[in-house]
Subunit: 492 residues, 2 copies
């Protein structure tokens, strides 16, 4: 009955004009810039107020509506993770600094450090993967399938209007253990696919590549071993920058020859399905290198398993996918939206990291791992924009019954009824004002989507009854107090 | 059917010997100290390993079993908060340092600072109340009822075996708005009572006091105005220290006269029910001070409302309750366990803080607030100890069906069945090893409490069937693949 006013926050995927989505993003960006400038000006004019009232740069509060959406999204994601048998763990928001060093390559400069306050050097976690590896090594766990949903911190200069923040949620699902090739990896692809489908963010593609294949390509193109990671970081920027920009970086900053760079260019421009694997297998120069052969065979096996898991239509083999982080060793993947929400960037990513746990073990004993991370902030953004566009109101509380009074000085009667309701587990509230007009109380119920109101007045009290009103239909019935809970349960 | 093995993590309250609970706490404390010493020794002997594998001081990881318990506890608490109509918000884990200064009195030294990394001076949040007040002022919100569950940070030297950590969860419920006296305050008492009852932590008492009354008492005892907060902090320690220790602090550190301190002592030793209010009203010296009169009248009104909310048997008026934080202005309260778990300290607390929001407003416009915080870490500890004591195993995942193979090389068939199950929303997993003994697969199911196993072998494949096995009863039936999902749904 309430559907017309209060719809579920998840809407069927709708078609948007791509250009209009991008222009809305652009406008939002400009509006934010202007408000920031205005805030700065305001503070200069207002000499008396010393305190600048804001959240730290790159962070934000989430109000009740945003939280309702976020919790609904996370709940759907957790359902998918649990469907695949994952348990959950939690780790501290900060780690010993040395746990985080040498794990993130060029991105290490984005780590938030804490002040040294008597001995320990601490830093806020940059992702959930490194703390997970530390956890496995510390507890000597040899196999686990876990999910972890928590905030991570990156001292980036993000475009907050595009959904990038310095504090943001990560939703990770990882499988650790010594298993047969590509079986857990394929399940990760399936998990991403299930999650994105149930969230109704529109069509998407999951790009796949393999670090060994990239290594093989780099060797073929004459990149020295010690520059693999650096070149990888540059290639990783191909989703945002053009090839000519990336090439310039490879040549000028990373010191590769023009011809090496051009050769890399011919490889990383390729993408496709299983046929691309067969094509590359005919590349004799590439096939001389064992790592390229291994990488290609792994991708072929992954394609086979993805076929069984019925996600073939979602995947694409993309040689330009590099993923910046140092710790990947095998398959890597990244999901992007391909419908009208293009431009929001990657909404999921991950890969295999077989040596990370070993970095924490004194005997270098490692645990092979593969996992994924859902870019929920971008997903929230896409969904929020859809809701705004459709002017859908989200309920932010779950109150079932409001207890109202029709005359003055009956507030103690309200409180007695509330005690009854709470004892019976009914979600109920009243006004914290003793004497408030009935109309104001009813208006509040309509505004906040509360379905039922109990009204008590002198008349009702005398008869030992209450009036029960359906907020949407405005139909009222008289009910003896003794039957109140039963009647409410019937209606909810 | 599984109840015998896999009970719900919530147990009926049981009776423990108080002495044995305390001695277990003591033993746990000693064991921790010894392990820490051992770890230090170990690190000195092992010259080769540079990395000390640990979480930062005062923090810990939560494994799957701990998380299962914690999420179940939080879920119950959220149900109570929602029953009272609360919505939820979230704020960043760090704030501008100036937001936190001058809010916590003597405890300010426990705030974690971040390194200055280009302009902003940041600190980790110390509680959820000050960020909430900053949020209200910043968004100019005049009324809200919200809950917030998140981690907070205090650079204390905690006794981790007693459930005190530097990083810990707070569960806050607050009502902000200009309302009639004691109506929201009484609801906070009711919320604490509902939460503690549903968590089965055993009997408890909620101590009540009022900051105005304390002010009145201090004036009566000759404490200068500017020493109210300092004396309050000392009184606050009466739950852990004896009166003679607190008196010494008041006299020697806070500079009060011996006779003033003694006079305070006669007041703060009193506690009781409504009769204590009547008693104090006869104290002419005290009643000369308006703040004492106001405080007493407020408590009397609160007792009246608590009676309507049927929590009178849970509350006690206790003049020694002071609460350390600077921001309280009215009623203050604190819940302690009174059964066999005494010694764990306060499990909930809160109070009214009418001026905090105004501290963030340039025109000092404030929003009256009252709220509570549940000490969930201590509650977790009490419940964990109960579970350990009763050797109850907690399920850490929710897998409903395990897909097993009876012969080698059938793993692709497993994956086909899994795809079917996942598509139907069934929580299912298999081994990530291609060829694994059937016995090992069945053993895993029994170990992890998975209720159903699908077994496929050559025979089943030939007939287009699967074997469905009930893990506990070990009864097996043959089922055509086409009916698989229906049959599973029937059994779950």
């Amino acid at each position: 009955m309430l559907c017309s006013m209060w719809t579920n926050v998840f809407l069927p995927a709708r078609k948007y004009c791509h250009a209009s989505m991008l222009s809305r993003l652009k406008i939002a960006e400009e509006v934010t810039k202007l408000s920031e400038l205005k805030a700065q000006l305001g503070n200069k004019n207002e000499v008396s107020s010393k305190l600048i009232l804001k959240t730290p740069k790159g962070t934000r509060d989430y109000g009740p509506e945003q939280m309702a959406l976020r919790l609904a999204v996370l709940d759907k994601i957790i359902t998918v993770f649990k469907r695949h048998g994952a348990e959950t763990i939690d780790t501290p928001v900060f780690e010993l600094k040395e746990v985080l060093t040498e794990k993130y390559g060029e991105d290490s400069k984005l780590i938030y450090d804490l002040k040294d306050q008597g001995g320990e050097i601490l830093a806020l976690r940059y992702d959930l993967t490194v703390p997970f590896a530390r956890y496995l090594a510390m507890r000597k766990i040899s196999s686990i399938k876990r999910y972890h949903i928590a905030k991570v911190y990156r001292r980036d200069n993000p475009s907050t209007t595009r959904g990038r923040y310095r504090e943001f949620y990560q939703c990770d699902f990882d499988i650790a253990g010594q298993y047969d090739p590509m079986i857990p990896d394929a399940e990760c692809i399936r998990v991403i696919s299930e999650a994105l489908q149930c969230l109704n963010v529109g069509p998407f593609t999951i790009k796949l590549n393999h670090r060994s294949l990239l290594d093989g390509i780099f060797t073929t193109c004459g990149v020295p071993n010690d520059k693999f990671h650096a070149v990888c970081s540059s290639i990783d920027k191909l989703d945002k920058n053009s090839w000519s920009e990336v090439k310039r970086e490879i040549v000028e900053e990373k010191g590769l020859s023009e011809s090496s760079a051009d050769k890399i260019g011919t490889y990383v421009s390729q993408s496709g399905g299983i046929e691309l694997i067969y094509e590359l297998k005919k590349d004799n120069e590439l096939m001389k290198h064992e790592s390229a052969v291994n990488g290609l065979e792994s991708i072929e096996l992954l394609f086979k398993y993805c076929n069984i898991f019925q996600v073939t239509d979602k995947i694409i083999f993309d040689l330009s996918l590099a993923r910046g982080l140092d710790y990947y060793t095998g398959i890597i993947f990244e999901a992007i939206l391909t419908g009208d929400e293009v431009g929001v960037g990657s909404v999921a990513g991950g890969g295999r990291y077989d040596n990370l746990v070993g970095m924490f073990d004194s005997k270098k004993k490692s645990i092979p791992c593969v996992g994924l991370s859902l870019g929920v902030e971008r997903i929230f953004n896409v969904l929020e924009m859809k809701l705004n566009h459709e002017s859908v109101k989200t309920r932010t509380n779950e109150v079932e019954v409001f207890v109202a009074t029709a005359q003055k000085n009956l507030y103690e009667e309200r409180m007695k009824i509330l005690t009854l309701l709470w004892d019976a587990g009914v979600k109920a509230e009243h006004s914290y004002k003793k004497n408030i007009k009935l109309l104001a109380q009813l208006h509040h119920c309509e505004e906040s989507g509360i379905p039922l109101v109990i009204i008590i007045g002198e008349g009702e009290l005398a008869k030992g009854e209450v009036t029960l009103r359906d907020v949407v239909s405005r139909v009222e019935v008289s009910i003896p107090r003794a039957h109140l809970i039963d009647e409410i349960r019937k209606r909810l």
